[in-house]
Symmetry: C3
Subunit: 147 residues, 3 copies
């Protein structure tokens, strides 16, 4: 069994943003030179998510609108009562809604490598979702399998 570990840096530009990272994942699979196996991609943050879906600009707007409608930013979340929490950094944001959306979407994806290529359907892309940006974000990527 061989394994290959890497991290990708993702500067995000908006408070809520969907970013297609399929090309970065494909390059890591290629560099790993593995032919059969799994690629695991994990956001290392609690207010980002990963998903596999279609890269379509207007759908990205729907995703933002939809999740901010079912988990609105301005509800009376307890996590946002910063004065009642201990040991928080001075720049702690009010981002409970972002945690909830991240949990619904999930923070990792496990995909297959078959014949040396990432297995994705025709309209599938690997998407990283920022819910509390802009920030500098990081995803861990591991390819595990055989050459």
């Amino acid at each position: 069994m061989l394994s290959f570990y890497d991290e990708i840096e993702l500067p995000t530009g908006k408070s809520f943003e969907v970013i297609d990272i399929t090309d970065q994942i494909n390059r890591i699979v290629e560099r790993s030179a593995l032919k059969e196996g799994l690629v695991t991609i994990t956001s290392l943050h609690t207010t980002c998510a990963l998903a596999v879906n279609e890269n379509e600009e207007r759908l990205f707007d729907d995703i933002r609108n939809y999740f901010l409608t079912i988990a609105p930013e301005d509800q009376p979340y307890k996590h946002n009562d910063l004065h009642l929490r201990v040991n928080i950094p001075p720049d702690e944001p009010e981002n409970a809604h972002a945690h909830l959306i991240a949990m619904m979407l999930g923070n990792s994806e496990t995909l297959m490598v078959h014949n040396g290529s990432l297995v994705l359907g025709r309209y599938q892309s690997v998407l990283m979702l920022e819910m509390d940006g802009p920030r500098q974000r990081k995803c861990a990527v591991q390819v595990m399998g055989r050459s």
Copy 2:
């Protein structure tokens, strides 16, 4: 490390449908002859999902009703303005709600193989969820591990 790749074809019959694919996955695990490892199952579509839950007919109705209530079909989604999108096939459906539900549920599952069997709790089944059918669907399945 050994790996075994297969695909399952799933014709769906309704616009929203929950299909138990546990038997198909068990057969693939058996054919792989692996004793310890992982099985990854991925829908190759952006309007289908995979989940692990109970195979109970009335719960399947609740699943359909619930997700079509929190993500209704007839909202003014931008992805459904087909005339504003480019390079779309002539039969492109208005299915933004199906993309959103698929993202919430997730499009893959990674399960364990232990002592040659799929590890599932007593009431757990592997479910494929169609949200934009009826269509011919496909799932990729990979068993990776040791004999």
Copy 3:
């Protein structure tokens, strides 16, 4: 390829509860002695979930409030019409909402092991979510990789 399988027992104390199981997972990774690989954690139940997010007491309250608001316990779910179902145990609870929340959150997580340690961001913990407790619950854990 080496693999290591274990199960963790989790007695839950409330109807809806979020439990940090990161320490248990870290101990299993340590006992496996694997250096590079994957850890898969699966709830063996249909009304529990797993997630990776922040261990913060007030956020745990938000998680409970949020999911019980978007999937309330007392809706007319068909799965809760126990008199219309067959082959159910005498103590079958009315828990359709718990199934729906579990499906949204997902019942497993696949994390990486790199340099002998679980790969998690600074604020990330592995969380087990009970939605139909209190009960005795069980999670399967598998570490697969190389030493």
